[in-house]
């Protein structure tokens, strides 16, 4: 009888926690949706850019369309992750909202998970739109497994950029964050070969791309279509994992500095 009660209590506790997480996620989503100045560009830009450069002005045939589908996919998912975390957290930190969250009974991890899930929601819309545009407007033909893999890699590919955004958000003042995030986001996108294929960039710049997580993610996504550069895939996976670890470590350090050492 006691065991039963314990189980019941545990499942009720878990349900409650889940409900808290869902509510936090819903609030986070509502907040984003109610900020059209963020939501609309985040959704429209990658889709529009891909439409222009991947479809209309693309002269490289369906292979180029498929290539740019992968790289603009990476470009698309980075935006919400970097801005939602980088700009969002720095603002909430400066406004004291993060401090309130910290002092509330909700685990702080739920705050972060809700942000990751929200960024992923944006990614779902962006990725699905890009894949459909590539398939029906650009004539890209892939195996079902390749479509699914591209989708899932891009979705999971959010995480390193959430980590990077988290670090930036916790480190930067809210008035500096948008500028700094843009300063990282746009050059990184270009230098990682997200806008134009990396092979078209000068060789020295091609090597510079190795320091960016976007390059490694793009190569992993491109490898699904066998369009990646001739380097071992595991190098990119390890590089991305190490970068994610470094970003999260830096974020933890910044968090401690901001809230615990005060």
């Amino acid at each position: 009888m006691n065991t039963f009660n314990l189980k019941e209590k545990r499942s009720s506790y878990l349900l409650h926690q889940m409900r808290v997480l869902m509510l936090e996620w819903r609030n986070e989503l509502a907040q984003i949706v109610r900020s059209p100045s963020f939501a609309i560009p985040a959704l429209i830009f990658p889709i529009m850019f891909y439409g222009f450069f991947g479809l209309i002005f693309n002269k490289t045939g369906t292979q180029g369309t498929g290539y740019l589908m992968a790289t603009y996919g990476v470009f698309g998912i980075i935006g919400p992750a970097l801005f939602s975390f980088g700009v969002g957290i720095s603002t909430e930190k400066d406004q004291g909202w993060l401090a309130i969250k910290l002092s509330s009974p909700m685990p702080i991890s739920f705050y972060l998970i809700a942000k990751i899930l929200s960024a992923m929601c944006f990614s779902v819309i962006i990725i699905t739109s890009l894949l459909f545009m590539a398939a029906f407007l650009g004539g890209v033909r892939l195996e079902t497994s390749q479509w699914l893999l591209t989708y899932l890699i891009l979705l999971i590919g959010n995480l390193p950029f959430c980590g990077l955004g988290l670090w930036l958000g916790l480190s930067l003042k809210s008035n500096a964050a948008p500028a700094v995030v843009n300063l990282i986001y746009l050059p990184m996108a270009f230098l990682s070969g997200l806008w134009i294929p990396i092979n078209f960039l000068p060789e020295a710049i091609q090597w510079l791309a190795w320091i960016f997580p976007a390059y490694h993610l793009a190569q992993i996504v491109l490898s699904v279509q066998q369009l990646a550069q001739p380097f071992d895939l595991t190098i990119h996976i390890i590089a991305l994992a190490v970068m994610t670890f470094v970003f999260i470590s830096l974020a933890i350090r910044a968090f401690r500095f901001s809230f615990l050492n005060r």
């Binding site: 409900r19 869902m22 509510l23 996620w25 819903r26 989503l29 509502a30 002269k59 045939g61 292979q63 929601c121 779902v124 990725i127 699905t128 894949l131 459909f132 398939a135 029906f136 890209v140 033909r141 892939l142 195996e143 079902t144 479509w147 699914l148 989708y151 092979n199 060789e203 066998q226 369009l227 990646a228 001739p230 071992d232």
Partner: protein, 602 residues
């Protein structure tokens, strides 16, 4: 919470919707071929080793059988009467360089397997996906990136490749090639000789280390050589095969005994040596055969032209071809395995078509017809580890050619192809269907619609060797500084060294992906007005199934000139298969600018 359920539902729907996205055609599918059942009665067939006579052979599930397969149901609709026909395995070209649609082109001439000796890594990766199941292009085995020194042969093609300069790099180099998907390792090695040219070469220890590393990874190592001494050193270093016949001097006893002792095969590539020696002709072409019908007039003219007296045709060039033929004969007669390979991808050596030339040249080296057929079929197994390759035996993929003439009597009958089967499916070359659509429009563009795209949706675009990693640049813009009317096309750019054949200018193609050629036979000339930087320029005419465009020179001055290029003055150009025109600056130009206008077919 409802919102969350909505989000989760959208997520699930988006995933499910991916299942309905268009898939690749069978062209690149892993699925086995399920072509219809087929049987051929009373057929003489070559199984890769010997000629046999069968009352009936069966093809089902894309495979060849000499006895009735289980669950076979007779259907007279799918029976071929093989009387007076001859069935041979699909041909294998053991030395090719592939890009673009080379594999389709190869199959359209009866080559069902292309062995690639060096290609761009992107092409290798794209083609690596289960090509043996591919029904509309040749199967593909490749060395991927070749092993050469930092300024060696192979580095001159405008794209960067990894190179090797010391023996201690060998294992890592081979490991990388294997991880990229190379089926074997191809090494470029030159013993120092008068024909060494401006290339560098790996040294002997590096050659040996590369071969050892290849064997460690269970891959064959084949070596590009051109001299007798280079061949000896490659054999002593442990090479499995030589991918050219040496042609600097005649084979001696030493090389023969070395090759026999070390069981080394040779792929002579007489076709490319013949082309290099400017000894091409079209005596190999069988009248009304596949090449006679399907190779463009322009290409045939090009084959003939290399026979014309050339200023630089020295006896050295003539000798290398006769030496190559003699050496092929000597090695064959000594019992050294000779595999057919063309080096297709080089000037005047075509994918698919040239294998028939190679077979003919082997006959000039006094190799009997059945041995020549073996060299282009079953003998592949000395090189590539593939069970059924080049064979028509029970369970082998039905890659085969049905011939209407007997190749035992004349090897040129290999061109009398009635049907090409790939995985049991009769190949229907789409190119033929697409060819020769007559182009009825006169005006290509006068740009008066203020657009780079004309009324037939043909677009004028910039073109330069930068697309091959060259350094030239080009730009096209509309301009009002024109010869007549309101608008014209301003073409500007710069020719810079960095690519072997630099070009820069403007191009218009009759289809976006170059899949279509048009016949201009109903027109007599192409005219355009032009002005700009003074100098010599070229009109490039791109012809289907021809490797390089034909170039027609013209001059530009600062005042407007009306240029009329009469087609009758260029009888070597096959005007019935034009794919594109390009107006480009000469190789010697630096910066240039010109305005094109009123481009018209008359």
């Amino acid at each position: 919470m409802k919102n969350i359920y909505l989000v989760v539902t959208i997520f699930i729907v988006s995933i499910i919707s991916l299942l309905f996205l268009p898939k690749q055609e069978n062209l690149q599918s892993d699925k086995p071929n399920n072509g219809e059942n087929l049987s051929i009665n009373n057929i003489n067939y070559f199984d890769g080793s010997n000629w046999k006579k069968a009352e009936k052979i069966w093809i089902t599930q894309g495979k060849f059988y000499t006895s009735k397969p289980v669950n076979w149901t007779d259907n007279t609709d799918n029976e071929i009467n093989g009387k007076d026909l001859f069935l041979i395995p699909g041909l294998i070209d053991h030395h090719t360089h592939n890009w673009d649609n080379a594999l389709q082109e190869a199959l359209s001439f009866g080559v069902t397997t292309q062995v690639d000796m060096f290609t761009h890594i992107d092409f290798l990766k794209a083609q690596k996906k289960s090509l043996s199941k591919n029904n509309i292009q040749a199967s593909f085995y490749s060395a991927g990136t070749l092993a050469t020194s930092s300024k060696g042969h192979g580095t001159e093609y405008g794209f960067t490749i990894p190179t090797i300069d010391s023996a201690d790099m060998a294992e890592q180099f081979v490991k990388e090639r294997v991880s990229e998907g190379s089926d074997f390792i191809k090494i470029v090695y030159h013993h120092e000789s008068p024909y060494y040219g401006h290339f560098t070469s790996i040294d002997k220890p590096t050659l040996k280390a590369l071969i050892t590393a290849a064997h460690k990874f269970n891959k064959k190592a084949v070596v590009h050589i051109s001299s007798l001494q280079g061949a000896k050193e490659a054999v002593l270093a442990g090479a499995d095969g030589l991918v050219h016949i040496f042609h600097d001097q005649l084979a001696d006893e030493e090389i023969i005994s070395l090759m026999l002792k070390h069981k080394v095969f040779v792929i002579p590539t007489l076709s490319v040596i013949q082309s290099f020696a400017e000894q091409m002709d079209h005596s190999f072409i069988l009248q009304n055969g596949l090449i006679d019908k399907n190779v463009s007039k322009t290409q045939k003219q090009a084959w003939d032209q290399v026979l014309l007296p050339q200023v630089n045709q020295s006896s050295k060039h003539v000798n290398i071809f006769t030496t190559a033929l003699e050496n092929t004969q000597r090695l064959y007669q000594a019992g050294i395995p000779v595999l057919a390979g063309t080096d297709a991808g080089n000037p005047n050596v075509l994918h698919g078509a040239s294998i028939h030339n190679e077979l003919y040249l082997m006959s000039l080296a006094n190799i009997p017809a059945d041995k020549i057929l073996q060299s282009a079929t079953m003998m592949s197994q000395l090189f590539l580890d593939e069970q059924f390759l080049g064979q028509l035996i029970d369970g082998a993929p039905a890659n085969m050619l049905l011939l209407s003439k007997d190749p035992q009597t004349d090897i040129r009958h290999s061109q009398a192809i009635k049907t090409i089967f790939k995985n049991g499916i009769a190949f229907n070359p789409k190119a033929e269907e697409q060819a020769s659509n007559s182009w009825g429009h006169k005006l290509l563009s006068d740009f008066e619609n203020n657009s780079l795209t004309n009324e037939q949706a043909l677009s004028f675009v910039a073109t330069s060797d930068s697309m091959m990693n060259g350094n030239s640049k080009a730009e096209v813009l509309l301009t009002d500084n024109t010869c007549d009317g309101q608008f014209g096309l301003r073409v500007s750019g710069e020719i810079k060294p960095g690519f072997p054949f630099p070009w820069s200018g403007a191009l218009v193609s009759f289809s976006k992906d170059w899949s279509k050629s048009v016949s201009l036979n109903s027109h007599r000339s192409l005219s355009f007005s032009v002005k700009g930087s003074e100098g010599d320029y070229r009109l490039m005419v791109f012809i289907a199934k021809t490797q390089r465009p034909v170039e027609i020179p013209f001059t530009i001055s600062q005042s407007c000139l009306n240029i009329d290029i009469a087609f009758s003055e260029y009888p070597t150009i096959d005007w019935s298969q034009v794919q594109a025109f390009a107006w480009v600056a000469n190789k010697t130009s630096n910066s240039f600018e010109f305005v094109l206008d009123s481009i018209q077919l008359n």
